[in-house]
Symmetry: C2
Subunit: 165 residues, 2 copies
């Protein structure tokens, strides 16, 4: 946990940006130190100071630092990519998971083929197939993100962004 | 592209929620139809109507539907998980990528071992190692997301959410 506003000689980055007095107990002060003004500028631009304050009051005190940092990550992603924001990162990672799973399935199929074709007298027969041959499943996903696809980037698209996670 | 507000008998979901007249050319109408009020309620709660309107005006018209859908996805993720939002999905996917890459590296190492130990007279010598044995690289990431780790969930954490993507 970072120091409260009373530890600073200057107001926190939020109060400085909003041109208001940084009072003791300021909800922003522990998470928006004056040394990092851009962090607040980004979350203010994307979420609005009022919404960030409301969200901080809705979560438990020990969760607030994580909440602010995840908001700051999302805000920076949206500033960099106004169309897709952090959803662009999710889309990229999901495609990477799909590609890796496909490659792993191929590798596992080859390992099974090697093992089947190896004669019993071969010293290779002692090699056991590792557990990852069977336990990976591309359908084992706790979320369902269909957005955005490669094809939808740059126009039209199939949307579906409100799909649950 | 969805129909404009003039095609509806009722105002768009945004104007209905904000209790204002839905004029022709309303920036929200094509993307927030009255049939889906929750989509606007979520983005309004998380981003604020004003910020969504500003963002829509900043991107090109053909990018607006994707922008709204990605905002709706992020907003729903934040409503479901106020602490981590869509960053929780990114964290989960990144761990899955790391696990799959590790499993693939192990499978590839075993394939190389099988091939090296196979005698030239074996019919297996004709099996070529597939290209995925060499071309995967866990460091091949266009973004850098250190947040949140498993260990940081539920308190404290190492932050770092403002890392670039």
């Amino acid at each position: 946990m970072m120091a409260s506003s009373s530890s600073y000689n200057s107001p926190c980055a939020a109060c400085k940006f909003l041109r208001r007095k940084c009072l003791s107990g300021c909800i922003f002060a522990p998470y928006f130190p004056p040394q990092d003004p851009q962090k607040f500028i980004n979350v203010h631009k994307i979420f609005g100071a009022s919404n960030v304050g409301k969200l901080l009051n809705e979560v438990l005190p020990h969760q607030r630092e994580d909440a602010v940092n995840s908001l700051a990550y999302e805000a920076e992603a949206r500033v960099r990519d106004p169309v897709y924001g952090s959803v662009g990162v999710i889309s990229f990672l999901q495609r990477q998971v799909d590609r890796l799973q496909k490659d792993l399935d191929s590798a596992n199929a080859d390992l099974i083929r090697y093992r089947r074709n190896t004669t019993p007298s071969s010293r290779l027969s002692s090699i056991q197939l590792p557990p990852y041959v069977y336990h990976n499943n591309v359908n084992n996903r706790p979320w369902n993100c269909h957005y955005p696809s490669n094809n939808s980037r740059g126009g039209g698209g199939d949307g579906g962004g409100s799909g649950g996670i």
